[in-house]
Subunit: 407 residues, 2 copies
Amino acid sequence: MARPSDSAPRKHKVTVVGSGNWGTTVAKLVAENTQEHPDIFEEDVQMWVYEENVTIPSDSPHHAAAGDQPRKLTEVINTYHENVKYLPKIPLPPNVVANPSLVDAVKDSSILIFNLPHEFIGNVCKQIKGHILPYARGISCIKGVTVTEDKVELICDYIGETLGIYCGALSGANIANEIANELWCETTIAYNTPPCDQRGKDGENGANGDHYRDSRGQISKTQLTPVPQEYPPLEHDVLYKLFNRPYFTVSMVSDVVGVSLAGALKNIVALACGFIEGHGWNMTAKTAVMRRGMLETIQFCQEFFPETVKEMTFWESAGWSDMIVSCTSARNWRYSKMAVERGVSLQEIERTELNGQKLQGISTTKEVMSFLKARGVQDKYPLFKAVEGIVDGTFEVKDIPVLFRHQ
Amino acid sequence: MARPSDSAPRKHKVTVVGSGNWGTTVAKLVAENTQEHPDIFEEDVQMWVYEENVTIPSDSPHHAAAGDQPRKLTEVINTYHENVKYLPKIPLPPNVVANPSLVDAVKDSSILIFNLPHEFIGNVCKQIKGHILPYARGISCIKGVTVTEDKVELICDYIGETLGIYCGALSGANIANEIANELWCETTIAYNTPPCDQRGKDGENGANGDHYRDSRGQISKTQLTPVPQEYPPLEHDVLYKLFNRPYFTVSMVSDVVGVSLAGALKNIVALACGFIEGHGWNMTAKTAVMRRGMLETIQFCQEFFPETVKEMTFWESAGWSDMIVSCTSARNWRYSKMAVERGVSLQEIERTELNGQKLQGISTTKEVMSFLKARGVQDKYPLFKAVEGIVDGTFEVKDIPVLFRHQ
C-alpha cells in the first residue's frame, strides 16, 4: 500500500482538471479556501489548462502591459491572475496555478476536481491513469450520466473505476458567472466516504481498501488504496471546507446516484417545460410538468438504484433547485420553447440557432427511453415518453395534460 | 342516525358556499362535472351569493337586455349565467344556481364546498350549523391555518368540528382566472375518508360514526353521522369525479395536515423570496430560499403532526408547485420585493400600495413564530425566524445566506 516515506502530517494538494468558465470559477473558490485552511490544504491549487494562444482584449486592464501579441493562456493566467478567455474580468487568487501539462498538474494531488465538458473526460482519464496518487480522491463537477440500453453509468463512477479511486459529485442550481461574481447560491456535494477512509471506524468490508459498495450499492471492482493516516481525514468536513464559501453554500450528502441522476434527467423535464410555455400555458402548468418530471426522476432512481437512493436527496439544490433553474433559464428550456413558438422541430432549431450543436436534453431523452424500453417499463414514465414523442413528432404538446388523467 | 325515508338510490347534492372569483370558478367546473355524472350527482349546483346590486357593464353583451338599472347579482347570474362582478366574461353552466339565502343554499346538500375569504368562515359556520344534513361532508378551498401560541388549527378541521361533519381540503398552484379560462393546471385534494364512510370495510374505531382520528391523528371530538348507504360512497373516486376536469387535473391524497400547512407556510417563504430578489439576487438564490423554506415546512409538519404527515405530500401541487407559483407571482412576494427595492418597511408598503390592507404572509409569520417561541424551538427554523426579523427590522436581508452556514 502506498505510504509517504516520512510519517509527518501532510496536507491535501488540490488540482482542478479543467479551466473553462465553470472550471475556473471552481478553481477560484477552492483556492480562496486553501488560503483559509493552511492546516488542511497546500495553498497552491493546480488548474490544468488546455494550452492555447490568446490575445488580451483591448478593453482589458492588462492589454497595455501585454500588448497585441498572442500569448500562452497559462502564462496570461499566471501573470495577470485572470482567465481572459473563459472567465474575463474576474480576478483569480494568485495561488491558482495554471498548468498546461495534464500529467504534471495532477501529480501528487490527493484531491482531483474534474470540471470539463462531458466528451473530454474519457481521454483525460486515459492520460492520467497511472500518474496520480493511488490514494487520490475525486469530485466530478460534470453533471449527468451515460445511459445505454444496458446500463446507467454515473460519470463519477466512470472516473473512479477508470482511475481506481473513489470519486464523488458536485451538482446544484449553479450559474458559473454568478458564482464568479460572488452572488450567493447553494450547491450539493455527494460523497459516500469509502469505509477505508473513515477514521476511528471499523471500515465495514473495506477497512484495508478492500472492494467497497459503490454508488449502486454493489461491490465495486475497484480495490481502493486508503488515504494515508498522515493526511487530514478525507471526509465530509474537509470537502465542506474546500468548497463552501460565504457566497456558495454547500450541503454534503452521501447519495451520489440521486444527485447524479437528478442532474441528468432534469434536461428531459426542461424540454417539456419549454414545450409547455411555447404552447402558451403559464407558470401553473409549468410547475405541474416540473413536478411530474421530478416524480418520474425519483421513481427512476428508486426503481433502478433502490439500495442507495434517498428521497430527501431530491429536496437538495442538486434536486429541486437545479430543476427549477434548468426549467426557467437554461438552454434546453429556451430552445424547446422557441421550437414550439415557431412551429418547427428541435432538430431545425439545432440547425438554425445552434449551428448544428446538439441539445443535451434530446440525447438524454433518447438514451433514457432506450434504457426503459429495453426493460419494457417505458409506460411507467409518461412524461419522459411524451418528450421523446414530441421530439420525434409522434406526440403533440397540446396532449400533455392527457398524460396525467386518473388511471 | 339520520336516514332517508325511502331506501331508493340517492344522488349527492352539491353546494358551493362562496361566489367570489375563485368560488365562481369552482362552481363552474363542479357544475360541468355534475352534468357529466348524472348517476352520482344532482345536476343543479347551488352557489351561495352574498346578495348585492350590480349594474351590468356597458361592454357586456348582456347590457343591452339588462340596461343601466341596478340588478340583484343572483338574478343576473341566474338570468345571464355569468358572474358579471367577480368573474366577468366567463360563461357559467346553466346548472349553477345562485342563491342569496345561505341556509337555503346548503339545505339537503351532502357535499358542501367552502370557498370564501378566511375571515368570513366563522360567521358562515354559525349561520348554517343545524341547518345542514347531519351526514354532509365538506371540502375547504380556503387555504391556510389558524395559528396561536397554543395551537395550530386547520381551517377544514375548524369547519368540521363547528358543524359536526368531516371536512377535507382542496389546495394547489391554482390561479382562478386561468382555470376559469380553462388553461390547464393541477390541484391537490386532501380527504381522509372517515372509517364510517368506507364501504365494505370494517371502519376501525368508527364504523358506526364513533369518534374517528382527525387530521392530527387524535381522536376527534366529533361524532360523525355516516353517509347513508343509499348514496354513492363518498370516497376519493367520487370527489375526483366532482372536481377533475381536462383543464384541472386532480390528485387525491389523505394528508390533510400536510396540504393545509404547505398552503399556509408558503406565505412566509414568499416574503423571503421577495426580499431576496429585491436585494438583487437571482433565481439560483431564490430557489435556495424556496428549498430551505420547504425543508422548514416539512420539519414543522413532522415535528407537530408526526402521526399523519407524509413527506410525499410536499411533492404534490399543494406543496412544491404552489410554493413556486407563490414565490414567483403572488402578492406576498411582489410586495416584499417592492419593499426591499424601495428601502421601506412592509408596513409602509401596506399603507401606500394596499390602502392599509394586510399582507397575509406577515400575520402568518408572526403567528407561526409565536407558536414556535412558546415551545422554545424557534432556532430550529432559521428562515422563518429571519423573515420575522426582517419584517420587524431586526434582521437584514443581506444576512440571509449566513443562516445557512454549516453548523
